[in-house]
Amino acid sequence: MKKIQVLGTGCPKCKTLMANAEAAVEAAGIEATIEKVDQIADIMKLGVMITPALAVDGEVKSVGKVLSADEIKKFLA
């Protein structure tokens, strides 16, 4: 079971990333939880300064970019 975190304070880009992450999980057909991290203090704890960012199992995979569903799928393999 993977844990995906989408980091962002709620701007349109973060929402797009959230949707892409959902699509990626569906396409990969795996079990995963997707969590939205929108408190600045929590985002900082992961060491992220540029949102949107994506973390898988607590490890930050991408910063400041809206990944496509295909790109996210690679991190889930």
């Binding site: 962002g8 304070t9 709620g10 701007c11 349109p12 973060c14 600045i40 203090a41 985002i43 900082m44 704890k45 992961l46 060491g47 992220v48 300064m49 540029i50 949102t51 960012a53 930050v60 991408s62 910063v63 400041g64 970019k65």
Partner: protein, 432 residues
């Protein structure tokens, strides 16, 4: 019937009914204000959209894609040299993205993980205040003088405000967060001179296409004015070559767009607006159909356009309705404006900066609003004060800053900005 949930709707319906019932149609001032709003919208659409806003969107989009954010952050990290950090923080607002949801995490990061309170505050001010789109619109609509004063003022301000914050709170140490900063991957392999030339060509297109007619018919400016469309075309051709050579666009596509643009110019007997529009549409087609960097460029520009255009339209309509065009009166009598912020008294400057600090300006809407205010009698000094304090601060952003910095520091930051804006406006107003 469940009145607990229905009463709100009832209030809305009654309020709407009363508004319609007492709609002041036929009242000369109201009718005139409506007309003014329509006139102002038309003027913006004719004068500012094609030649100014569209190239500005492309430039803002290109900054988001082609300028590496990592390079900026390197100078704001924990080990950064303090002076370099201030310098970079003051100008970085123009390079990094312009929405507040991007600024706030960066600000918190610089404060808690990086260079500390001073540079973080400098960055917090410069982020929304120094954005390329806003500078271009200010210079175009309110005049180059105010545009330049705004640009210089904003850069100097952010440094001064940041340093003052650092001095005032030098005793307080913040517990730094130990997490290592995660930087975005730096995949930007283009040498600096290529990026610089590429941006120069776009900025020059914007400058030459909007080149104003100088007052005298002789001298360098007049000569440049006569050649403005030739120079614009040369820059556009240069941009085309760079698109093929560096951004790796297909040569036949770029060539096709150039040919159609040139043909349009010939067919319309040298009508620059038609050729410019065709060229801009061509660039949109080139970038939108590109799979690599060009595609991201289009996406980023398109995001800006989608975000800003509706806000700007609403801003222009509201400003036109309330304040009217230059020399005309809207719904608010000019005397009121002149009494509050006319001339260049300290009081007028303070009122302008104070109102600006709390008011929320959606991106770029400060420009038509200030244009309206100036038409109604606002002095140049208070106009600059409003421009300097306005976009950088608003009530919603203060609340978020408050949650990061605490009440004392937030209050100090806001008062510093208001005070500095008042003084700068006053000095600027005396100088001209």
């Amino acid at each position: 019937m469940d009145w607990k949930s229905e009463w709100k709707k009832w209030v809305w319906i009654v309020a709407a009914f009363l508004a319609c019932f007492y709609l002041p149609v036929g009242n000369a001032r109201f009718d005139h204000a409506l007309l003014e709003a329509a006139h102002l919208v038309k003027w913006y659409a004719r004068e500012h959209v094609l030649l100014c806003l569209i190239p500005a969107f492309f430039i803002a989009g290109a900054i988001g894609v082609f300028v590496s954010q990592t390079a900026v952050l390197k100078y704001l990290g924990p080990k950064a040299n303090k002076w370099v950090a201030y310098g970079v923080a003051s100008v970085s607002g123009s390079i990094l993205a312009v929405c507040s949801c991007t600024i706030l995490p960066l600000f918190t990061g610089i404060y808690r993980m990086g260079a500390g309170l001073g540079p973080a505050c400098a960055f917090l001010y410069s982020g929304p205040a120094i954005n390329v789109l806003a500078m271009i619109m200010t210079a175009r609509i309110l005049g180059p003088e105010l545009g330049l004063a705004r640009a210089i003022g904003a850069v100097v301000f952010s440094g001064v405000v940041g340093y003052a914050m650092q001095l005032l709170f030098r005793r307080e140490e913040v517990a730094k967060i130990a997490a290592s900063i995660r930087m975005p991957d730096d995949q930007d392999g283009r040498p600096l001179w290529q990026t610089a030339l590429y941006f120069a060509s776009m900025v020059l297109i914007l400058v030459f296409a909007n080149f104003g007619k100088p007052q005298s018919s002789e001298g360098v400016w007049a000569a440049l004015y006569r050649l403005k469309w030739v120079l614009t075309s040369v820059c556009a051709a240069g941009l085309g070559v760079m698109l093929v050579a560096w951004i790796k666009m297909r040569m036949w596509k770029v060539g096709l767009v150039a040919a159609v643009t040139a043909l349009t110019a010939l067919a319309t007997g040298g009508n620059p607006l038609a050729a410019f529009t065709v060229g801009a549409l061509g660039l949109a087609w080139l970038t939108a159909t590109d799979k690599g960097e060009g595609g991201s460029w289009f996406e980023s520009s398109w995001t800006f356009a989608k975000q800003i255009l509706p806000l700007l339209l609403i801003g222009v309509v509201v400003a036109g309705f309330l304040l009217g065009r230059v020399g005309q009166e809207g719904a608010i009598p000019s005397e009121w404006v002149a009494r509050a912020v006319g001339g260049n008294s300290l009081r007028a400057n303070f009122l302008a900066s104070f109102a600006g600090a709390f008011m929320y300006f959606a991106t770029l809407t400060e420009v038509p609003i200030i244009q309206g205010l100036m038409g109604a009698g606002m002095g140049k000094g208070p106009a600059l004060a409003l421009l300097l304090a306005g976009p950088a601060l608003s009530l919603p952003s203060m609340l978020v800053i408050n949650s990061v910095l605490g009440l004392k520091k937030t209050a100090t930051f806001v008062s510093l900005v208001v005070m500095l804006a008042t003084v700068t406006g006053y000095v600027f107003g005396r100088g001209c």
